[in-house]
């Protein structure tokens, strides 16, 4: 991890593509300036966002006992997209409005799923939360579609699509300082409660008999996961596949015990998004949208994982 971070600091487009020699850092004031004020905050953001998305994905997969869920499951990503679209079309589209609205509606997605799940009288708690999450996600997606329909196609609609691209080209220290107070405490909470995930993945009666308060602890973990995801998405836009694929890779390496799987997910997620962002800002003279790279590479890794699992079953 430290090696990745250090290497990323020396990757960029100035003064030459790809690698910045240490002599340039020493002798060129602009190079040092760019590294301190642009590269480092961007690297930190990429790493933190990767940690958050994969930790949240691991938490959701354990709590919902479903290996195919990620932060989009409780309406978080869709809520953020809806909030951003709303701000762009109706609230002036400023950075503060868009990011704030994205974060608020991402969080409201969780709240809506939770409240709805409490009112459903069908199946156990996890099933109810899953169904409520699907409904809330669908509702947000429909509402976002409605906003896109109403949006000015010359002005607002391209803005909405642009926001959804996902990328960190505009990140500065100011943005890092805005998300740190949310992300760091949430990651700490998730890390400290990681061992409870093993119990929460059991049935409620079993978990309760083992000394866990399933409803309350589940809520704490979900709030921490969603809050940090909302903060990340509000800055970076939509970045797909990280929360889905990285926890699987982590479990393949360290096993399913969440005491090891969650920290492994965090580290791997941070490194994955960091490497993708390094590629996005360095490979070509123009920026490649981060969401496209994480989707491409994430999908490829997912397929490899699926095929390898199939081969192992054959063996």
């Amino acid at each position: 991890m430290l090696l990745c971070l250090a290497a990323s600091i020396l990757l960029g487009r100035y003064p030459k593509p790809y690698f910045t020699p240490l002599s340039a850092v020493r002798d060129d004031a602009l190079a040092l300036n760019l590294i301190l004020n642009l590269r480092i905050p961007r690297i930190l953001s990429a790493f933190l966002i990767g940690m958050v998305l994969s930790a949240a994905g691991a938490v959701f997969q354990m709590i919902f006992r479903n290996p195919l869920v990620d932060s989009g499951f409780l309406g978080v990503s869709q809520g953020a997209a809806f909030g951003a679209s709303l701000a762009i079309v109706f609230l002036g589209g400023t950075a503060v409005a868009v990011q704030g609205s994205a974060a608020v509606f991402a969080f409201l997605g969780l709240a809506a799923s939770y409240i709805l799940a409490r009112r459903i009288r069908l199946g156990d708690w996890v099933l109810r939360l899953v169904m409520a999450g699907i409904a809330v996600s669908a509702l947000y997606s429909a509402a976002t579609g409605g906003i896109k329909y109403l949006a000015d196609p010359n002005r607002h609609l391209p803005d909405i699509i642009f926001w959804m691209l996902g990328g960190l080209w505009a990140i500065t220290w100011k943005d890092v300082l805005q998300i740190l107070p949310v992300i760091v405490p949430c990651l700490v909470v998730l890390y400290l409660l990681r061992w409870r995930l093993n119990l929460l993945s059991l049935r409620d009666e079993t978990a309760f008999s083992l000394g866990v308060a399933p409803g309350r602890e589940r809520l704490i973990l979900l709030v921490a996961a969603v809050a940090s995801t909302a903060a990340a998405v509000s800055k970076a836009g939509q970045i797909a596949w990280v929360g889905l694929i990285v926890p699987h890779i982590a479990r393949r390496i360290v096993g399913s015990d969440s005491q090891r799987a969650l920290p492994a997910s965090m580290l791997l997620g941070g490194v994955f998004v960091l490497l993708c962002d390094d590629l996005a800002r360095t490979a070509l003279a123009g920026e490649i949208p981060l969401g496209i790279l994480t989707s491409f590479i994430g999908t490829a890794l997912f397929l490899v994982l699926l095929l390898r699992r199939k081969l192992e079953l054959w063996k």
Partner: protein
């Protein structure tokens, strides 16, 4: 008696039936092409019309670009029957040229074939260089479609010529084309013989804050903005960043620092104030380290009601202005106020007083 009456009625009826062709032969419209009219549009399609269209509808992306082209012809306002309205106004400018413009029928966003057919058009004009599904749908109900691209000068001249055919005024089309060609030739003649190494390295970017995210983007190699820089005697530095033939590509400041161009022109996205944008760049530590900013060669691209960088006919103003900023010593005699008056006077028929009172106050020129 009765037979005579029937015979007379038949003769009168036959006379009335054939009268339009007699009228056409006896009173030819000056400059009108022979019927039926036919031309190849921007999508490479052969468009055939049985007669000059009397009711023209404009739909699709950037309708104002086609509307501005039509309004350079005297027949344009009369033949325009309606347009798609993609925003609060189809064009913030044409109200100044034609007081009746606001009464033109406005269709909603992305109108369907039925809504278009309700306006009974003889021809639908769409901006683009490749056919879309709409043209198939309209063809099925007998409404012809023609595409206009306007993206680059050669395409622009072709589209102007086609507009001349559509409106039956080839003479006017030739005048418009000559207006643009003369100005380009004037610039090219002044720059003739200028060695490549003497051409300043120029970066043209668009600064946007779309979706609340600030970004700096460079135009595609085949776009009007790149053509403007080249023709104005600059060497565009960003062509290795352009991995697309169309669209804007985001670049980061590291890349801009690597290019470190001699001159930077920034197109401000519509919601950004150009002066505030330039001031924020000059206040930024990284931007201040760039050669162009240090030398005072950071310029906001000019605009009036519309920008002077896009495929709108105003691109000729942007090109003329840019030549004067890239090679100020060679183009000392350019008077941009005079150019603006000429442009609006000869192309849109606005008199000097109207230009001075309605247009010039809106011109943002030499913002740096």
């Amino acid at each position: 008696m009765r037979r005579a009456l029937i015979r007379s009625a038949l003769i009168i009826f036959l006379a009335i039936s054939f009268m339009p062709s007699w009228a056409g032969a006896a009173f030819p419209v000056p400059g009108a092409p022979p019927r039926p009219i036919q031309f190849i549009d921007a999508a490479g399609r052969s468009v055939q019309l049985e007669a000059l269209p009397r009711r023209i509808i404009v739909i699709g992306r950037g309708p104002h670009l086609i509307l501005h082209l039509l309004y350079m012809f005297p027949e344009g306002p009369e033949r325009l029957a309606g347009m798609e309205k993609r925003g609060k106004s189809a064009s913030d400018f044409l109200d100044l040229v034609d007081p009746a413009f606001k009464d033109k029928k406005a269709l909603g966003v992305s109108p369907g074939p039925e809504a278009i057919a309700a306006l009974q058009p003889d021809l639908v004009l769409i901006k683009g260089s490749s056919a879309e599904r709409m043209s198939d749908a309209l063809a099925k109900i007998g409404i012809p479609v023609a595409y206009l691209s306007l993206e680059m000068p050669d395409e622009f001249y072709r589209d102007v010529a086609n507009a001349g055919i559509i409106l039956g005024n080839g003479t006017r089309a030739a005048e418009i084309t000559a207006f643009f060609r003369t100005r380009i030739e004037r610039i090219q003649k002044t720059l003739a013989g200028l060695a490549e190494e003497k051409k300043p390295r120029v970066l043209l970017v668009m600064a946007t804050d779309r979706g609340g995210k600030y970004a700096v983007q460079v135009p595609a190699a085949g776009w009007m903005q790149t053509f403007q820089v080249r023709t104005a005697g600059g060497a565009p530095v960003w062509l290795d960043a352009v991995q697309k033939t169309s669209g804007w590509t985001i670049v980061n400041l590291e890349q801009i620092a690597r290019w470190d161009p001699d001159k930077i022109f920034v197109v401000a996205w519509y919601s950004i104030d150009p002066q505030k944008m330039i001031d924020s760049f000059k206040a930024d530590r990284q931007w201040r380290a760039l050669k162009a900013v240090k030398a005072g060669e950071l310029w906001a691209f000019p605009s009036d009601i519309f920008g002077w960088d896009s495929p709108d006919p105003r691109w000729i103003l942007g090109l003329t202005w840019m030549a004067g900023r890239i090679h100020p010593g060679l183009f000392k005699d350019i008077d941009m106020s005079g150019e603006v008056r000429e442009f609006y006077g000869r192309l849109f028929g606005l008199d000097r007083n109207s230009v001075d009172s309605l247009i010039l106050p809106k011109v943002r020129l030499d913002v740096r």
